[in-house]
Symmetry: none
Subunit: 190 residues, 4 copies
Amino acid sequence: MTFVCGPRMRNSLATRAALLDAAVKRFTRDGYDDVGMRDVAGDVGIDAALVVRYFGSKEQLFEAAIDACFDGEHFWEGDRADFGRRLADQLVYGDTKPGKMQGLSIILRSMGSAKAVEVVQRSCVQDFMQPLTDWMGGDDAPVRARLMAGLLMGMSIGREMTGGPQTLSPEHCELMRDRLADLLQSLADG
Amino acid sequence: MTFVCGPRMRNSLATRAALLDAAVKRFTRDGYDDVGMRDVAGDVGIDAALVVRYFGSKEQLFEAAIDACFDGEHFWEGDRADFGRRLADQLVYGDTKPGKMQGLSIILRSMGSAKAVEVVQRSCVQDFMQPLTDWMGGDDAPVRARLMAGLLMGMSIGREMTGGPQTLSPEHCELMRDRLADLLQSLADG
Amino acid sequence: MTFVCGPRMRNSLATRAALLDAAVKRFTRDGYDDVGMRDVAGDVGIDAALVVRYFGSKEQLFEAAIDACFDGEHFWEGDRADFGRRLADQLVYGDTKPGKMQGLSIILRSMGSAKAVEVVQRSCVQDFMQPLTDWMGGDDAPVRARLMAGLLMGMSIGREMTGGPQTLSPEHCELMRDRLADLLQSLADG
Amino acid sequence: MTFVCGPRMRNSLATRAALLDAAVKRFTRDGYDDVGMRDVAGDVGIDAALVVRYFGSKEQLFEAAIDACFDGEHFWEGDRADFGRRLADQLVYGDTKPGKMQGLSIILRSMGSAKAVEVVQRSCVQDFMQPLTDWMGGDDAPVRARLMAGLLMGMSIGREMTGGPQTLSPEHCELMRDRLADLLQSLADG
DNA sequence: TATGAATGAGCATTCATTCAT
DNA sequence: TATGAATGAATGCTCATTCAT
């Protein structure tokens, strides 16, 4: 939803929020290198210089976007009983842009840029791995969290690499969903 | 292996091969966007324009590099009994650049570039997913191959995202290796 | 001297004076081009737009700064008998920023900007050359004033170009001081 | 002299030389900050990227320009007997761009840029002060060379600051020329 | 076959300034 | 009077690619 009154709203909070939103979308879809400040600014209808004013630099904008992705409730939270099934459904049948798993996409889309990787390493452990580890629980939580994160990200990549569920028969899709659900659930349960 | 005779070898095949080798290394380490034609050309000691002459464009060079990665014996081939253990060892304890798993790295490092993704989608199914599926065998081979590929790539990303095995205690490393080995082996066995 | 009462002084005269003071310091140290409105505003703790409001533009701020430099007693005034010695001491041994010779620095630091040169040409004759000429006295005062001004500015530049007195032996420093004192004194005396 | 055949001559030496020539002119006239890479490139009729290719960066282009200014015979060299008169003539009556004294102008025009000053300090001592000192001769050569350099640069600035010889009566011009000639000659003679 | 000069679009970032509040 | 959001032109520089030799 966008309010416009006159040439521009001149509401810094709204502009900043809109910018962040646009940045998350862009970075998620295109990765760090393929996103230009002009693109993000253009999405919101302002000049690129203002993006710099708000976030300092492209790198800092990216960092803010990553932080924003892992704010609030985490995508894995919810009823523990059908955890595996829930995520497997999303990974196999979900929209191209899962929304709730945006954080994953923004990470793997940006593994090709040295600068971005640096930011990811800085932010993701505490914003993503640590909360996930805490949520898993148990002595071997760090191990299971890593396997889980790996599986999630790997399946996301695989989706894009192979071209999505339409390249698999409906039966195989179902089979994959079930098997993936089992894998995830057993990792969650320990 | 590099032959030099006189000022230049004037052996276009050898130059082409050296170029391809350098390209694979670069793309594996830095991803599509962060690799420049000048870098690759410089590694071999020739002018960037010549790379264009040999491969047509950066995109085509990338495609050739991907193809080269999946030529010859595949990294998963070998004794089926200790398959899981073998790959798990590499994923947890292997060098930063696994060598045999270069193909995986080159893919995930390049998910951030629209052009590169296009190439990956074109090449990887037949060069990577299909052979893996064939090797797995069984009715559900397409499903298990996808889960396997996802797990492998995901663990590769996770490694870089978290900063490698040194961020985990030795005991947890061992535990992860074992659990990952089990997962991979059971996927391989069906 | 700075008065503060409440969140802001709401005393436009004091703010203006503080701004002018900051501008003189900045222009003296960094020259016209290397000084930003944001810098000057930041020194006083206000927004850059306000500087524009007070002075109209960067060019006008610069003009005001130059005028301020040549207000009040001129640096050459004082006992005429030891005039040469006094100035020579400052030029050879003085602090990097002579303070009293700020006007000279602000001029020579800004010879690289077309806009600034225009302002300098407009202001300096009446604010600097004319008073100096008057002070010198005699029929050939305009000539001697120019030679004097040239020598003063040239020695200031030379100082920075070569890196200050520490690049000369103490004996040579003394020698230069004496010779320069003679030169200046003979120009002053006619 | 400029040869053009077809779209461009594709003669790197000629292009480089033309570029350097244009850079010297620009830097002399406008100073470091006011010269853009695009300006210099435009003077020669090529793209700005090529300037970077040839010189590496703006800073290095500036350094090359300074070096070029002090190459070959120095402007003070020649018959020692009428040294003072020769230079005084140039300083008082010479063209706005003395040509032979370009090195002086390029220095004083660039005292307003931190980067440029750094380069000047690096290059000018050995390219300008040292040769001048050698030429002067005598135990106090370093001192006299500094005074001389200061006077020369100061008179150059003064010229621009006041607007040239036309702001002085013909008689005063002559007087200044003579007095300046004496000053310079006595510094040269020791 | 091979070189490297030349191109032009693209990049993030900085700047003085204007305008709405 | 004062704030700071917004602007847009300009900056130095990098890139894959093309062209003449």
